[in-house]
Subunit: 504 residues, 2 copies
């Protein structure tokens, strides 16, 4: 795979096949972005009666993008372009485009379209069954859909060359190149260190949820986002039920949040900002190519977690913003010191629901899922045994009993929708976030003072230079190394949590 | 083309070719609806920096929809389905689908894709040149783009079998089946009757524009729309710079308006409601087929004009709403009688800008454009002579001088964007609106009393039954006859205007 710049390369300008490949890939990218807009609109703007027609549009655009990409002509172009690729430096735009497109193409063409369609259909039915099962807090109607999803996953896995572990192939869809064994090693270390940390924290007194006025929430969230780098020329913020970030085109980044009691409306918005700034600051030259996106779910999550936790829950951040928060909500914060506020937003508190979990316990929610889904895939656990296994292990890791399936095994949509291998990327993101953060601190020793003055541009510029701009040019592992100089390592994250919470 | 229900038809259920045709057409419809969403979003929600990427997405989806539709396989299916079509009643869903798809396919395949692409490109460049020319009130930079658009239009016309008049072929894109001679006859009658009506009205005293608070505008507009039949399950209302209606899928109707001084924010919203209710009330069985849309621009405009003018500017309408308007804006309307308000919203007042024109003078704006664009197409008028010809004829028809090209020949985007033959559909809509209204009054003699009680459901149901539900099943001419029992006729519209305005 190594390649060097060849002096006197026979290719002065890209061959015609390269232009043709670019055009074909650009069309696929356009259709995918249009699909992204269909998704964003469905969850923020679409009137409910539009949902049936919208489902058809989503299916059609997904099929068209897939068909156009797996076209045999794309394979021929990729083959024809091998000598050209070999004549170029590996990190060049052209070589990267060909390399990454080939990897995507080879993966996509392994799977027969009929199986892809079956999986999509089973996922849609499973998602619907999950919604109903969760509403009724009754696992049984979901069970046959999980069986079906697992059966299809085994057929999917069989499309690829055998891997060391079956789960490797599922993981690769979300964190390309990552091995189950590496994740397991990292998660085992996390588990070993975090369970005692949680136990030591004990159960804090419950505090009543803050009820801040909705208009004030939005005004304050926008003020914070503006400071971080949100700019109406290329960003939006809208309300939705389950927050997400979407970038349905270059220069177009859309955050969502949910106005609600507590402070999650704010930390959620900052979390999505982290996803958004990654997409926004990818080199614009990569637009409309397969290189123009975040490189893996783990690295994406590393950035949402960076901005939410390492920036947004830090003391220097609130040195700047806390007086403004007090001004915005004097009734609620007028009498609360900055220190007490800092403790309030950084409590370790075991709870049942993953998406509401704090920085420390969050990882235990993930490790639980990571272990259970491997056991399911490997046949060591039956679907019927899943709720029991969930409840037992949850109490073991988090120290509190699960009171209902709705707040237990039914809380997440992923498995019903057919996503196995996805969950681990959340904690991988946490781990990577601190690895990169430590490296960044070497270059930006004045960071705390900058935050306290409300200056976040230096931080954003550092991440742009060392991470965001690369898009998908390199593998996730290469990208991580470019950003922090090392491979996946739980050490920095564990030390960070211990320093922050063990004292507490 | 006539067909009868055949007893003992050899086709008990649709042949496989019909199902295949439906699937292909449904995919095209899905892509077109996705394009519709790209358009709506661009004009209401998209951050400005997204515009370059969006233009690529729009071009790609347009190309894909076109390519998939003109595919030779679609032509073969249509050919294969002739005997099936002939075995069915003409008005059946299946026969209509095949008939309309064939007409669309034959038209679309006449034009080489390279010419379509060139026209689209020239239109995009011309649109940009128009924006700049208008901003500078300088016609000259637009002129070469108009030359280019006209040249391409001649190449476009040459793709089709010769017509009686060149302009017929352009008109057919917007009002299928309509002949220039028919329009000319109707417009000549309008011109003969309306110029004296405008002259007799004279120039009223200018009244200062109302400045109503923005929030109050939106609240009142929503209150009116709710009464008319807007319902959040399937409708939206958003703000935009140049209002339009978009229905990017079945059960999904989106109105736009502009909050501004005067009352156009309200009449504009009601106008778009008329477009929206037409789309919304098409038989849902026609969704995802070429039959699931309004049948022509003229008939579409007849409905926006019906709801805006025949409903929204009527006395019985305001009998119900005027007290609510007074409540909403007591400072502005508290001291104004319902009669005075009625006169205020129904004034004949020649003005320079088409989109601000009243019910009577509006048609003269259109007739001017209709005549000029025919002369351009036929070579009787040079592009360079256009501004002069515009100004001269404008004063002749409307009695006021044109003070600048910005408020004259540069006011509309249509010609710069490459649309010739479009304008006439606005006045055709006015004419048809009163033809259908007269027929409706026979069936709904209690209409005034219903309006005065705020009841608009009977009116909507009548239009649904007699017009909306048909979608594109029949030709525009057949559709008009189904709704009002006669062919295009200026008489009812002229009598309506005379009765309403000649009294003065």
């Amino acid at each position: 795979m190594a390649a060097q710049a060849t002096v006197g390369s026979p290719f002065v300008s890209p061959p015609a096949a390269f232009d043709e490949l670019r055009i074909r890939l650009a069309e696929v990218s356009d259709v995918q972005h249009a699909s992204g807009l269909l998704f964003w609109d469905q969850r923020t703007k679409m009137p409910p009666a539009g949902s049936e027609g919208r489902a058809e549009q989503v299916a059609t655009l997904g099929r068209i993008a897939h068909e156009r990409f797996v076209d045999a002509a794309v394979g021929r172009l990729l083959e024809e372009l091998r000598p050209y690729e070999d004549s170029l430096p590996r990190e060049s735009f052209e070589a990267s485009l060909i390399r990454v497109a080939r990897r995507d193409w080879e993966k996509a063409t392994c799977v027969p379209p009929s199986l892809t369609a079956e999986m999509r259909r089973a996922g849609a039915l499973g998602f619907r069954a999950w919604s109903e099962a969760r509403a009724a807090s009754d696992f049984s109607p979901l069970a046959p859909h999980l069986e079906r999803n697992l059966e299809l996953k085994h057929r999917y896995v069989a499309c690829f060359p055998p891997a060391e572990e079956t789960y490797d192939i599922l993981l690769d869809d979300y964190e390309p190149g990552m091995k189950t064994a590496e994740v397991r090693a990292v998660f085992d270390e996390l588990k070993r260190e975090l369970i005692p940390l949680v136990r030591a924290a004990g159960l804090p007194e419950p505090t009543p949820l803050l009820e801040l006025p909705r208009d004030g929430q939005e005004r304050f969230a926008r003020r914070v986002l503006d400071r971080l780098g949100f700019d109406e020329r290329s960003w939006r913020l809208d309300e939705t039920a389950h927050p997400f970030m979407s970038s349905p085109g270059s220069g177009d980044v859309r955050l969502t949040t949910r106005w609600e009691p507590g402070l999650n409306w704010l930390f959620g918005a900052i979390h999505e900002f982290g996803h958004g700034v990654y997409e926004h600051d990818i080199d614009p030259a990569l637009a409309r190519t397969p290189l123009g996106g975040g490189v893996s779910l783990g690295l994406h999550e590393s950035q949402s977690r960076t901005w939410e936790n390492l920036v947004g829950r830090s003391r220097p951040f609130w040195r700047f913003f806390y007086p403004q928060l007090q001004d915005a909500f004097p009734e609620h914060f007028g009498g609360l010191s900055e220190d007490d506020f800092g403790r309030m937003t950084n409590r370790v508190e075991p709870s049942l629901i993953r998406v509401d979990a704090d920085e420390v316990t969050y990882n235990l929610h993930i490790i639980l899922r990571f272990e259970l889904e491997q056991e399911l895939i490997d046949g060591r656990l039956e679907i019927a045994e899943l709720p029991g296994a969930w409840n037992e292990r949850f109490e073991e890791y988090l120290g509190i009993p699960v009171t209902s399936d709705r707040e237990g095994v039914l809380q997440d949509m992923h498995w019903g929708g057919g996503a196995f291998g996805y969950f681990s990327t959340y904690s991988l993101g946490n781990v990577m976030s601190v690895q990169i953060w430590e490296r960044m601190l070497v270059d930006l020793p004045e960071l705390d003072e900058q935050f306290a003055r409300g200056e976040f541009a230096p931080l954003r510029a550092w991440y742009g230079e060392h991470l965001y701009r690369h898009g998908r040019k390199f593998t996730p592992q290469e990208t991580l190394e470019l950003a922090c100089g090392s491979t996946l390592d739980a050490g920095p994250y564990v030390r960070y949590l211990q320093a922050k919470y063990a004292a507490g």
